[in-house]
């Protein structure tokens, strides 16, 4: 079954060096390693491409459909490349009670995108997370992993400006 799947027809997948590197750390044909492999691959590539999933399926010894099934089941996995900066808005209960819906709406209107989307210039992605576990400083967002707590809707404008300025600098 390991290499039985021929989906994709003619355009044969190319082995990605980054994925090959990840797979070296895991014994082949062990289903229990599938999720750690996907996590490590996403850490490296920032998302799971079709080719990466095909390559992983062969290593783990399951059909690509199963890998796709797992990748789409868990919220953590992204099938499209995210923006350069990722904003995660916490929508946990404590944040909700303290007005995280307004924070989210404010981000959405400032960026002109919906949660789950990326700005057209590929700079900023806006995501929702269930709970970041920092409820006492609610409402919370993380920007590229850095926490910002006790926000009010007005703060979003400043945070985005800072990100855009960073984007300009690196150009």
């Amino acid at each position: 079954m390991s290499s039985g799947c021929k989906c994709g027809g003619n355009d044969a997948p190319v082995a990605l060096p980054a994925v090959t590197e990840v797979l070296k750390g895991y014994a082949p044909n062990k289903r229990e390693y599938l999720i750690p492999i996907l996590q490590e691959t996403q850490d490296k590539l920032s998302y799971l491409s079709r080719d990466a999933m095909i390559q992983i399926a062969q290593h783990v010894g399951v059909p690509v459909s199963k890998v796709y099934g797992v990748a789409t089941f868990y919220n953590q996995f992204k099938l499209t490349p995210p923006g350069k900066h990722v904003i995660q808005v916490c929508r946990g209960t404590a944040c909700h009670v303290r007005g995280s819906d307004q924070i989210l709406r404010s981000f959405e209107s400032e960026l002109g995108i919906q949660a789950g989307q990326t700005t057209k210039d590929g700079l900023i992605s806006l995501d929702i997370v269930a709970c970041l576990g920092s409820c006492s400083i609610a409402p919370v967002v993380t920007i590229d992993g850095t926490f910002h707590g006790r926000l009010v809707p007005k703060d979003t404008e400043r945070l985005i400006k800072e990100l855009r300025a960073k984007g300009e600098e690196s150009k």
């Binding site: 289903r31 996590q39 009670v97 709970c131 409820c135």
Partner: protein, 657 residues
């Protein structure tokens, strides 16, 4: 499994470069040898910075960097230490200072400017800036008596502060006082003594001890832990597993995170004891990927425990073998359900399986498996060390010990608290939590996350234990306690949870997948804007009146797993206690709390409007019309009620009804 066993972190500086022996731990010789790590009488000033996730999120790293900077310049001669979270999260960043001969004192809300003041006046000088002091954290929650210096006017000991007074710390004992990266500090505080003790016992005796303690699972259901262990103990070997459920998916809960970040060795010891009791030689820690810091602390703790011979083969020179693997969750709420969690460990989609067979009989890789929550394992070493009778003396007849709650929402002091079972809701919210934020009215307390319920004022005297909470229509859950004030709309809260469970439903069984979707539709209809009303919408709304409760009960009785069965709880409990709010939404088309946006109406007061045009520019739906320097007007049909104009107006000319 070699791939998992290599640690990514630099090796810890350990006090010993060898495997420890049973005798030196059980006799207390080692703890005595390491006692100076606890800084009872330090030679130099010690500064502790709380660098758990809350501390970091509040800017703890900047405070730490500032301290390091001034230390490297030679301005202060101190020892810097990182600690976990003491649970007073509202006041993060917390910095503790222990000067030789003075009790350890705790400063709150520290930022860079404030740390400079603390350094100049107290660390370099000798005047305590009492205005920044929270209290004296020396010997909290336990330790030798001490005297508060006479010139520290108005400074109180932690145990006399209202926030800490009613707490009873068992699980959180070391959180915020010990360095989570130091196994030596844990050993100095009698760590791993319980493990040495069980190695002299029979597995049967360990199971019996846990059974006698009356410990019940802290993850939600409240199943007796001892009985669970006994089922697995009675299964034939050779391969069994211990699993720790650290997939704390409940929105509004962070107890497990704080324990893992603040005291990782405690749960490792608990798991090893569990492994010894049921005859498992391997354990899995299933931790959320959203908790990177907790995973980091665990990885280091496991590596350190291995080098001391507390994990791995021949633990402490015996034949007992036990090792741990960390599995990172990938963000699925349903994986908190034990059979779904096991599927996820096996690399599959996290979908629950019908029980029986129970995991204790056929669990991970079809082998007998015990799954317990973080807090459950954290209780185990204390029970073994102090005896079942000590534990059973705390709490109520059917719920023993303490419970950790994440007290959040509209409460003055939010944070992590540990209280004895049987305490009332009123004591938690008004004594420990200090009352409602801005002194508004209390409306409800949401306990138990998406599977729990909302308890109103008349339940404030409810004693917190597993059974009384279920009777009141909520459940213990993992311990999220979100306080809501009179500005919170209960229909909105129910909708919030239903939206959550709908998106997190795994989709395997029909009652949960389709039923919750219907519930969500009904609630959407209830809060829909009146002017978009067309056709038979009024009829649809009435459907909610007739069907809402029936659908809830149907899901509760027929869904496949615990999550599906409890998913309607937020609606059922709000229907029970706040029926009039549903009625106001359905019949009067009003949201009494003013939270349900679509029932609101935004208006510009033409007298106050200066015509600056900011609102017009900000409006996402071009619903605002008007010329510059003339009063503007909101077109109700186009207004999406986002509230952006309300926030943006510099003259507060926009009102909301």
């Amino acid at each position: 499994m070699s791939a998992m066993h290599t640690s990514k972190h630099p090796a810890s500086k350990l006090a010993f470069n060898r495997r420890l022996t049973r005798e030196e731990i059980s006799s207390g010789a080692l703890a005595k040898q390491l006692e100076n790590l606890l800084d009872r009488n330090p030679a130099k000033t010690v500064v502790y910075v709380g660098l758990g996730t809350c501390g970091l999120a509040s800017g703890g790293q900047r405070v730490w960097n500032r301290l390091e900077e001034r230390k490297s310049k030679g301005e202060i001669d101190v020892v810097l230490k990182k600690t976990g979270c003491i649970g007073y999260c509202q006041q993060e960043v917390m910095v503790d200072v222990k000067k030789p001969g003075k009790p350890r004192v705790s400063f709150a809300n520290v930022d860079v400017a404030r740390i400079d003041k603390i350094i100049d006046s107290y660390i370099k000088g000798d005047t305590l800036p009492t205005e920044f002091v929270t209290g004296v954290s020396e010997s909290y929650p336990e330790g030798p008596e001490f005297q508060i210096p006479a010139d520290w006017k108005g400074v109180k000991a932690f145990k006399d502060l209202p926030y800490f007074k009613k707490q009873k710390r068992v699980v959180l004992k070391n959180c915020g006082t010990l360095d989570p990266d130091s196994i030596d500090e844990y050993i100095a505080k009698d760590g791993y003594k319980a493990l040495t003790k069980v190695l002299d016992m029979t597995p049967r005796a360990v199971v019996d001890e846990i059974k006698a303690s009356g410990l019940r699972g802290r993850g939600g259901g409240g199943f007796p832990t001892g009985s669970k262990w006994e089922f697995a103990f009675n299964q034939p070997g050779p391969q069994k597993y211990i699993v720790m459920n650290a997939d704390e998916g409940d929105p509004g809960a962070f107890m497990d995170r704080s324990v893992l970040e603040g005291d990782p060795h405690r749960v490792i010891e608990g798991m090893a004891i569990g492994g010894f009791a049921i005859g498992a030689n391997h354990g899995y820690i299933y931790c959320r990927a959203e908790y990177p810091l907790a995973i980091e602390k665990l990885e280091r703790a496991i590596a350190d425990a291995r080098s001391y011979g507390l994990l791995g083969k021949n633990i402490l020179g015996t034949n007992f073998e036990f090792d741990l693997t960390i599995k990172k969750g990938a963000g699925a709420f349903v994986c908190g359900e034990e059979t779904a969690l096991l599927a996820s460990i096996e690399g599959k989609r996290g979908m629950p399986k019908p029980r029986p067979p129970f995991p204790a009989v056929q669990g991970a890789f079809n082998k007998p498996t015990v799954i317990n929550n973080v807090e459950t394992f954290a209780n185990v070493p204390e029970i073994i060390r102090n005896g079942a009778a000590w534990f059973a003396a705390m709490g109520t007849p059917r719920s023993k010990g303490t419970k950790v709650f994440a007290l959040t929402g509209k409460v003055k002091l939010s944070g992590l608290i540990e209280v004895p079972m049987g305490i009332t809701l009123r004591e938690i919210i008004f004594d420990v939590g200090g009352g409602i934020l801005n002194d508004r009215g209390f409306k409800a307390a949401q306990i138990g996350g998406p599977s729990g319920g909302c308890l109103p004022t008349q339940c404030l005297e409810t004693a917190i234990d597993y059974d009384s909470l279920i009777e009141a229509g909520a459940m213990m859950g993992s311990g999220g306690l979100v306080v809501m004030d009179d500005q919170t709309c209960m229909v909105d809260v129910a909708r919030f949870f239903i939206n959550f469970t709908r998106s997190e439903s795994c989709g395997k069984c029909i009652p949960c997948r389709e039923g919750i979707a219907r519930l969500q539709e009904m609630l959407e209809k209830v809060v829909e804007a009146p002017e978009t009303e067309t056709g038979n919408m009024a009829l649809e709304r009435m459907k909610a009146v007739i069907d809402l409760r029936k659908t809830c009960e149907l899901i509760r009785d027929t869904a496949a797993c615990g999550l599906g069965q409890t998913a309607p709880n937020p609606i059922l409990s709000t229907l029970r206690y706040f029926k009039e709010e549903y009625e106001a939404h359905i019949y009067d088309r009003k949201c009494p709390a003013g939270r349900c946006k679509s029932l609101l109406r935004y208006m510009v007061d033409p007298k106050s409007c200066i015509g600056c045009g900011i609102c017009k520019k900000k409006c996402p739906n071009a619903a605002i019309v008007g010329e510059i320097k003339h009063a503007h007007y909101i077109v109700a049909e186009k207004c999406v009620r986002c509230g952006v104009c309300f926030e943006a107006c510099p003259k507060k000319a926009i009102s909301c009804s």
